[in-house]
């Protein structure tokens, strides 16, 4: 085959998982941004809402997210993403990112795919299952 079929292109994408790092100012640290947002919400009529503002980092991690990889992310968060003098952080794994061109073929969808494609596809499904667990 000379031209890659769409299905081949799909399954060739590297396996990626998303790890999310949430960073929040510590409760005892003043949060002027959150205060400003709280004030603006009250002015807009959203009563009884008190806001603290933090940051969310979405990290696409190549390959399987093992405990070691998560430990790497935690170290990255502690080294750079958060300043632990004033902030706390939380690391968690999210489902793999979705994008319109990367639709996984449905199980019951009949697609012209050769065996190697099918194998890779199964690998991806397995990976997704591991990550979900």
């Amino acid at each position: 085959m000379i031209l890659a079929s769409p299905s081949r292109r799909r399954v060739r994408l590297p396996a990626m998982a998303r790890v999310v790092v949430d960073v929040m100012p510590k409760p005892e640290i003043l949060d002027p941004q959150g205060k400003a947002v709280t004030g603006a919400l009250a002015r807009l009529g959203f009563a009884g809402m008190s806001v603290r503002q933090g940051k969310r980092f979405e990290i696409e991690v190549e390959g399987e997210v093992t405990e070691d990889r998560l430990e790497d992310v935690r170290r990255a968060a502690e080294t750079l993403l958060a300043n632990t003098v004033i902030e706390t952080f939380d690391v968690r794994v999210e489902a793999p990112p979705e994008s319109p061109e990367e639709d996984e073929p449905d199980d019951d969808e009949i697609e012209p795919a050769d065996q190697s494609d099918q194998d890779e596809s199964n690998e991806q499904a397995e990976l997704a299952a591991t990550q979900a667990g």
């Binding site: 640290i29 003043l30 002027p32 400003a36 750079l80 993403l81 300043n83 003098v85 004033i86």
Partner: protein, 226 residues
Amino acid sequence: MAPKIGVVTFPGSLDDQDALRAIRLSGGEPVSLWHGTDSLDGVAAVILPGGFSYGDYLRCGAISRFAPVMAEVIKAAEAGMPILGICNGFQILCEAHLLPGALIRNDVRVFVCKDQDLQVESVDTTWTSDFTAGQIINIVLKNGEGGYVADEETLRRLDGEGRVILRYVNGNPNGSFHDIAGICNQRGNVVGLMPHPEHNVDFLTGPTQDGRPFFTSVLNFLAAKV
């Protein structure tokens, strides 16, 4: 020969030229240092200037703290070299853990730019020895994130060990704990402060020359060392 004092330029530094000029006016030999090099070019002291290095992305000073030159600055600081961080430089020193605590957004939620009254608290540092303890000075303050914060234990230690070098007087402009405007490390060679002494060295551009003693202090210290 006049002692060489380096000023690091990061992408987004604003006051590097004024710092270089202040060194020259005070009798030192200014040396420009680039953030991307790993050489301090034989300088005897280093100033991290004010500005918005790396656009203040992530947190003020968080990315600059890992610039190649900073590995050398940290090594030199630990070996006793005089290091002064002004404003953004102070933020970088805190991010690098050369100084304790952190600087957060001003409690007043606006950028503050004013001639600020300050009290010199500690003169036992390489950057403040030419002042007299308790002296009231006036230096320009200009920042959006100058609120000094630290946990109670750290604040107690800073106060107890005489490591607060400058305090805001006649009003706290940004919510800094204990009115702290500047601190030093245990050894007194690393100093960070939010006000800008490099702008107050010449009556042409500032209402006082109260910034000069910071530069003459270190030059006298370095001259005495030789």
